[in-house]
Symmetry: C2
Subunit: 380 residues, 2 copies
Amino acid sequence: MIPEGFRFAGARCGLKNKRNDVGLLVSDRPAALAGLTTQNLVHASCVDFMRGRIEAGSLRAMVVNSGNANCMTGPQGERDTARMAELTAEALGLRPEDVGVASTGVIGKLLDMAKVERGIADAARSLGPDPRPFLEAILTTDLVEKQASAPVGPARLYGVAKGSGMIAPNMATMLAFLCTDAEVDAPTLQRALHRASDRSFNALTVDSDTSTNDMVVALANGASGHRPSEAELEEALEQVCVSLARQIARDGEGATKLIEVVVTGTEDPKRIARTIADSPLVKTAMFGCDPNWGRILAAAGRAGVPFDPRQARLAVEAAGEEHVLFEEGSPAPFDPKRVSTALKSDCVRIDLQLGEGTTATVYTCDLGYGYVRINAEYHT
Amino acid sequence: MIPEGFRFAGARCGLKNKRNDVGLLVSDRPAALAGLTTQNLVHASCVDFMRGRIEAGSLRAMVVNSGNANCMTGPQGERDTARMAELTAEALGLRPEDVGVASTGVIGKLLDMAKVERGIADAARSLGPDPRPFLEAILTTDLVEKQASAPVGPARLYGVAKGSGMIAPNMATMLAFLCTDAEVDAPTLQRALHRASDRSFNALTVDSDTSTNDMVVALANGASGHRPSEAELEEALEQVCVSLARQIARDGEGATKLIEVVVTGTEDPKRIARTIADSPLVKTAMFGCDPNWGRILAAAGRAGVPFDPRQARLAVEAAGEEHVLFEEGSPAPFDPKRVSTALKSDCVRIDLQLGEGTTATVYTCDLGYGYVRINAEYHT
């Protein structure tokens, strides 16, 4: 499952409680680098830092800390990001420009660099083929670890991600790290990553809040010797990215279920799907297992995309059953109790057909008491 | 407080539990009519019906039912809306074209017209100067009644509103009825209402979900003989509309506090204020009395309006105190416990300065367990 020539590590330095909080992902040889970063105007210094690395197109190692986003921390925060790369380079015998940096956690607090320095040193001593210590090190409010893999012909692609809240589609909306031993140049990797992200991470929303620190990073070190076609690479990337996006939505803060919103027709089905996926009324109805199709259609109607409501067909799919809720301008005769029982499934698909045309899918989750608890009690 | 020549009534016909659900607002003489209706593509037949009345610019009576939105109910729903006007006209000795119709409540169910007919007849028999039976008749999940008044020179302006969930700014986002005995022609009334709504109802969001049935209706019957200037009229309208908008935000579903988001500077301060006001992370932080300025700035940063985060100044005002949280690119030194105590107030102002320029205010509320409870357990 793990591509050749990559090693991982995680260490606990005290930036957050009881879990690893500094992680390393290292390629044994120079790797082509592609990446996407948050488009939030308010963003962390590591985002600016990584934009420079992505432009250069090559990398040997990523250092990641959780528990502190190092965002809006001024010039000292910028120096701390650069210092994380230097410390990692020293520990691994690399040049600082070979190292990328990502941070995630609370906004507006300076990093405790004494702890970070110890964490990097500890992690560097424990590098190995097992990705689990690294997976643990990048989590914040996540309940589960997220990983996925796919073949790239004879080569392999492996990806990990973190993300649970402050998740909304705008380029990259969480941290994801992808590595492959396929042989790919940086521009090809960037193009393929961009298209795969559009159909996965950029089609993902937990709470419509775009984070300040998001990034997706892909490394290709060529260790397998296999040089895939761009289509082959893109297919593998899309498979892994969609899997990770679904895992993030299912693990959304307080979520009890994954919701896939599928819209067909109109000039912008993705915008309609996203409006439905972001609607607090739709999300609370799903939490309550309530087939409240009025809220779904009302959200579609305010998306700003023209369609004829009388032509709409709305169905939900859950627990292996499809239930039509609205058809040909009128409510369909469905059994509310039976649909409500089906909606207890932990995976629900909302299927809205508004005419001929392309289909867009957006991944989200329901909104329950847990989201309020986590975010009202997560004191800074 | 009540303008001359208007009468009110409410009756209980069984569309909802234990409260009046059919209301009448009647002018004793022809009144100039202005109005704004929801811009949701998916909207109720009463919205189309009222657009015709507003174009005609004159009205004698409004009939309103709560407990059923009569929305997405097909041709039968359209006939039921027209029938409500006919029944009201018969009961009051008016022409059907003198009567406007508004509905609010659950989407997608046909009205029980036998009940509505009885309700209209009962209400018509109990018309009087007391607006309270009418106020009760327009409520759904509202906990409190909302009314406001202002002088228009020697004339009077009185307004009532309902709204608690599915509230987001797009033209009119709830039901509001305004009546004045000032003498105003319909085009003037429409212009003044439009501007006043932009600074009140259209600056209001509870949950970013624009309703299918919203409307603001203003009636001017001239009974006082006073002909105000357009500025005088607009000032009174704005005063009443802002008061009603604040009352709706404070009574947002599950809300524990009113939040005023005030943004100064940039090319579109209202868009930034609205993005902050709609952010689930900001709203849950306010519910938790957490001065989490990172979430506020992160929401501003994703609004799509350019600004320099290093120039931002962010303060909260609550319980008579102002606390600066962020200034000149860095966190301000504030006492989190003291700010948290101040945030327990039921009225909080978030003040974000991003440079010179105009100021925009958006009214919203916090997001707590109550919102989830109401909307997850409100089964259709």
